[in-house]
Symmetry: C2
Subunit: 200 residues, 2 copies
Amino acid sequence: MKVSREQVAENRRTILKAASRLFRERGYESVTVAEIMKAAGLTHGGFYGYFASKDELIAGALADVLSRRPDPTGDLADFAAGYLSAAHRDNRAGGCPTAALAAETIRLAGEPRTAMTTGVKRQITRLSRIVPGETDVQKRRAAIGSWAAMVGAMILARVSDDPALSSEILEQTQSWLAAKAKDQGCATRLGRVSRGPSRK
Amino acid sequence: MKVSREQVAENRRTILKAASRLFRERGYESVTVAEIMKAAGLTHGGFYGYFASKDELIAGALADVLSRRPDPTGDLADFAAGYLSAAHRDNRAGGCPTAALAAETIRLAGEPRTAMTTGVKRQITRLSRIVPGETDVQKRRAAIGSWAAMVGAMILARVSDDPALSSEILEQTQSWLAAKAKDQGCATRLGRVSRGPSRK
DNA sequence: GTTTATACATGATGGTCGTCATGTTAAAAT
DNA sequence: ATTTTAACATGACGACCATCATGTATAAAC
């Protein structure tokens, strides 16, 4: 049975969304085409009317979810509090695609890698607008470091099967980022980082 | 043909080592038992004389490689310089098992998760000995934050198919960690982080 | 030296999954 | 209203892979 044009467009969006959620939750490989189509309310055979291959779906789903990522608002502490929350940790399917999929995407080439790279660039640019710092160079550095710390902390918290450790990673990384932000101001005010007390 | 006792012990080590390298390079799922055995110089049928299943091999290989991780020496800047190097980025198979496998291990239960959790705990403990800070609480926080940042930066650098961005992530995260370490000293010297200049 | 136990090679098996061929039905086009 | 087109359901195909059964040759035990 043929369906309407709008239905087709909606089906495509539904497939992309279902794929993105399943991939974030279980990775690219263990999720099957049949499963994605079932989650989208269709049967597996119809898949190839929408995508030429599973690889193409991966590229499409990744580009889609990354392009829809909301612009961070507020200051870095606000953003970090939301990102490094237990709710986010426990919501892989609906959470940050970078934390969920970057490590797997390393082994892919072409479109998925490029899509993820674009996502990293954009996130760095956006974060540099909200991190503290006096020069653009400083802000970009802080954006890169903070983003790496948040993504890394989320992965470490998720992999830890000790709940106390998992929470500690989220909380302490947040405090550490906050402390770093304040110190950054302090150090620059003193006239340069290099004037800080020397360590061995 | 039966082989000597020592040969058996060596074969087991060879299998674990080959598995660990292949897993770090290509992930748990896409690596086949036959491939691991071939890399170990054996045929696939013999595998089940050593391990009851591929899952058991995953647990064994992960525990093995994590337990052999060298203790960080020198100060944090030294460690970060080695960790956040282009050589490490380009050597997944021989590099940090956390950066390569933590994200995949999230989806596993039981022994592999526990092994990875133990690895995270140990690394935090070890890093807290070399990070700057005046109290144990501060040092542990810095160890957690720095470890998260290093693991996250390595993943982001590896996934970036733009070489300039990839290098920038490694270099700037390193500078950022160094600046943070110095500031941390500065801030505490000033008598508490909370006395830093207030931001909005 | 003979016997026994076992590590491993070879090959088979069953299940899973990506992909595709075909048929059917309903939307578009005329 | 009729024709045409296209979306999707059903089912099949072929490849891949984890696991296991069997045979064999050699180390270990006696």
